[in-house]
Structure formats: structure tokens, C-alpha cells
Amino acid sequence: MTLQDILLQQLANGLILGSFYALVALGYTMVYGIIKLLNFAHGDLYMIGAFLGFLVLSVLSPLIGDSWVGIMCSMVLSMIAVGLLGVLIQRIAYQPMLSAPRLSILITALAVSMILSNGVLAFTDGEYLAFSTDLGYEGLEFGNVFITYTQMVLVGAAALLMSALYLFVHRTMYGKAMRAIAIDKDACRLMGIHVNRIIALTFFIGTSLAASAGIMAGAYYGSIHFFMGFVIGLKAFTAAVIGGIGSIPGAMLGGLLLGLLESFGTQIPFIGTEWKDVFSFGILILLLVFKPTGILGRTEIERM
């Protein structure tokens, strides 16, 4: 392989990884935008999505097989289920805490995250489950760069979900209400917007996007595990901050950028795979210190 081939292949790798990051980052950014909550449990909802998808698929596969049709059906079902779970969590754990000190709600979110991951740990005994599907390794070769059909479908699905979200937020009344609440909740209430209902809707969309990423990752990589949400949760948060937390296009951009940074990072001498995470977290810390609003975020006057 020539250097050019390597870089092109890394570009493809980065885009695929980045679209997972972007899907998860969207949920972070939406929830943060609307109630200023850093939802630590978001990565775990990604994991729950993968597990539910696995369950649904193992029930459905005798009927419709475990190829694309089966995966898509179980994806839709598990997105709805996890979205409802997200709303439930918001109602039980976050709603009563909205007026509490910031520290309390952060700890609550951490507790929810631990309950989800350790609950699955108790159920599965910490085992890795093999997520076996019918997806093959066939693909197209562009010069020396090889991309499987599965990868293309994954990136396509992610792009589709993200554009649907973008249209929803910018072209519908619900989307408008979401954006309005992010700016001033009390004014919205006075204007007759059902604030709680819109917040619930935001949670539903955000968590079901994470679930969609979870099940796609499960099917693509082939194994699921109770701890799989931790690393990606952290990376997706980094992506959301890079793009500017609270901004939906920012989360998409941030996700892709982080994916690319990580891919190319392994090619840089002295970083390699050993220092890759130090590199990503280092960027996060530097960004938070010097440009906490990210690339597309708005400057906030409020100090916390």
C-alpha cells in the first residue's frame, strides 16, 4: 500500500467510526441543549439498544432471517423501546431534580448510568454475547481502498437518520418548540407550549438515536457487552463538545471530525495506538479550556 492508499483507507475508516460517534453525540447535544443536563446514562442507553436489538432479532430471525430486513425491523422496535425507556428515566430520575443543585443532578445521572450497566452485567454475568448476523464481507474496491457493502449501508443509514432529525428540528412545530425551550423555558410555558411533553419528546428522539447506533454497532462488530457504552459515551461527548454542545449540526460535525482524528492519529508517529486516547482526551481538555463553545456552539453569558 502506498501512503496515499493508507490515508484514503483511514479516511474511510474515520468516516464510518465518526458516523457512530455522531449518532450518539446527537442525543447528548439535544438533551444538553434543552435541559442543560449532561446525561451520563446516554452511552448506556446505546448499550441497552444493542441488547434489546439482539433480543428482538433472536425472536424475529426465524420469521424474517437475520439479514438486512431482520436488522432493520429489530432496529426500529428497539429504538422505540429504548426511546420510551429514555422518557421513563427522564420522568423518574431527572424531572424531580431539575431545580436541584447542578451537582445533585449530575450524580443522579451517574447513578442511572451505573444502574443500567450493572443491571445488564447482573443479567448477562458479564459475558460477551455473539451478535451473529448474515452480513457478508463483500464490498467494492476503489484502488487499494476496500469498503464493504455493510459499511456503506451503515453510513447511509446514519446519514439518513441525521438528515431526518435535522428536518424535524427545523421544519416542524415540535422542532421549533424544542429550539424555543432551549432558549427560554419559562417564556415557552407562558406561550402555551407543553414544556414537559417537548422535553419528553427530546429524550425519546435522543435516546432512540443512541439505540440505533447501538444495534448497528452490535450487528456490524458482532459482539455486545455490558460495558460497550462507556468508551463510546465518552468519545461521543467529546464529539459533542468539539462541535459545540447544544448544536445539532455541531454534533454531526464533531462526530465525524473525532472519527477522522482518531483514524489519522494512529498513523502519526509517537502517537500510534498507545497514545491514541491521551490524544483524544487531550484535545477535549484543550478545547474546553480555550474554546468551550466548540466549533458551532453559541457563546453563553451564563456562568455556572
Partner: protein, 370 residues
Amino acid sequence: MRKTLMLSAVSGVITSLFLFGQVMAADLKIGIMVPTTGSEATSGKDMENAIKLAAMEINESGGVLGMKIDTMTGDDACDPQQGTAAATKLVSADVAAVVGGYCSGATLPTLKIYGDANVPFVIAAANSTKLIDANMGNAYQINSTGFDQTATAVALFEKQGAEKIAVIHQGDGYSEDLAKLTRDKWTEMGKEVVAYEVVNKGEQDHSALVTRIKSKAPDAVFWTAYYADGALLIKQLRQAGYRNLIAVGDGSNSPKLLEIAGKAAEGVYCFSNPTVDYLPAAKDFHANYKKTFDQEPDAYAALAYDGMKLMADAIERAGSTDQDAIIKALGETTSFTGIAGPVSFTDKNTLARSNFVTLIAKDGKWTLSE
């Protein structure tokens, strides 16, 4: 201040209950140190079962020096901190000897505790080479160490005509140790290690690493860590079109690897300790184990079983439960043959012969290669 007092009272009650909960027992007490909770609980419980089975068999045929064996389990949870607690628990309960040790990291700090108490210790599974330096003379390793595995691995790569290899570990003590040994040995032989990489635990996407490795065009890739991440790596290597040899270390010796990696795992080599499936002498053990515990024995059951039998044998030969005598008898072992093969020790208290076998994945199952 009032609250302080009430709280102290409450904590006092808890603590004293905890204190008085400790009871003593008699007979020939043998400690079992394995992880029965935590991430490695499955393997640990399996070893515990095998040791108990051996003790039961010994008791049925008259015990050791006329005494019945009474086992006591200390849970190290595969964690150094809990390992020290488990070891002190066993030592305080005045066990005559200890059998067990699965996670090298958790076993390492306990060597000092057993050493100070001069308790004979047969390490059944843990095999990091770091254990050799920390051994105070009372512990014996009946599993071959990383040195032997490296030798087996290097021999395979040579036989397959590899010149350039890539070594990948997972950033924990065990897999880094094996990776370093292999890298050093391979370069010593005048050959080239084109990539020496680490994968972060829990990460799913290794595509960047795979591209990097592929660009270096190695003749063999050696994964020294565990099955879960190994399966993902194998899958992604094959997916990216890497067609040369892939080998995995004994931590990856699990049917789960084949299940997760699916058809990508076909033809992958694995270096393994003797497990019951490949030991002709283990037939009875296998049947007994299944009958007693209603499950299949796991990778380290045979070694754990041998460990208990060896300890009983050494106590018989020592003729008493005197600790120095048992340790001496262990060191002089020459004629003991367990289901995993004959046991004798080097002057560093490690197994004198290599017990590694090479497996290959065929039709979704591990089978003996050659």
C-alpha cells in the same frame, strides 16, 4: 457531634457483627484462592469446583495422612486489593496449604503474604513471568509460564516461514508481558517485528489499527490478550483483506472467540494450556465433573484439579503438615503425574516442561493442530 456518636454506634454494631462472624474449623484445611466474583468469576468458580472435586475424591479414598481435607475459599475477585484480603483471610484461618491463583495481577501481591507465613502454595493457572521474581520459595507454578508460550509461538511462526510479524496486546500485565517476550525473542533471532501495538479494552472499532497493520504487510499477526477483543480484531483484519497467519495467546482460548468472529476465525492458531478436551487422561475427570456440577469443565479445570492432587501427594510424602516439609516435598516432586501430564519443577519453582499445545480453528471448533 451527636450525629457522629450515633453513626459511630451504628458502624460499631456493623463492625462487631463482622468481627464475631469469623469462626474457626479443624481437620486438614486447604485454602482455595480464585476469583469467585468479578469479571473472571466463571473461570474462578470452575477452578474452585475442580479443586473441590479432587478433595472429595481424596477424602473418599481415606484422606491425607488419615486426615480429611476441608477446603476454604478466598475470593480474590481478580483484583490485587481483594487478593491481599483473600490471602490474609486464608492465612489467618491457619490453612495448611493453598491451591489456586488465576489472575496473575491478583496473585502477585499475595505471594508476599503466603511467603511471610511460609504457606505452601501451588499456583494452578496464573503464569505471568513476574510471578517468578516475587516468589519467596514457597510457591510452585504448575502452569507453563510466558517463556514457554513465547517459545511455542515463535516455533510456529518460524515453521510457517514468517519473517515479519505484528504483535498486539491489550494494555494489561498479562498480555503485555507475553507481547514483550515475543517481540524480544523475535528480534533476538534477527527477524523483524513490524508492528507492536496496543488495543484499549472495550473499544469496538479497530479499523485504524487494522489499516496500519495491513500497510506493514506482516506474515503473521500475534494477539496476546483475551478472546472478546481478539474476536473483533480477527474479524476486522479478515474483513479488511488480511490473508496471512493469525495466532492468539492462551487468554483467547475460548469457544466464544469462534462464536463472535464466526467464519473469519477459520484457520486461526491458538496456543493453549492443557484443557480437558485435549487430554486423553482427563476422561474420568471430565465425566465426574459433569456428573457432580452439571456443567462442562472450563479451560483451567484440569490444572486446578492437578494442583490439589499434587498438594495432597506432597503432604503424604512430607509425612506431616509441617510447612517446611511440605514445601521441600513439593520441590522434590518427580514422580507425580496429573491428568495434564507429569510434574517436576525447575530451580525457579516453575514447571520443568512446556505444556503448551497449538490449536487451530476448524469448522467453528478448536482442534489440535498438526
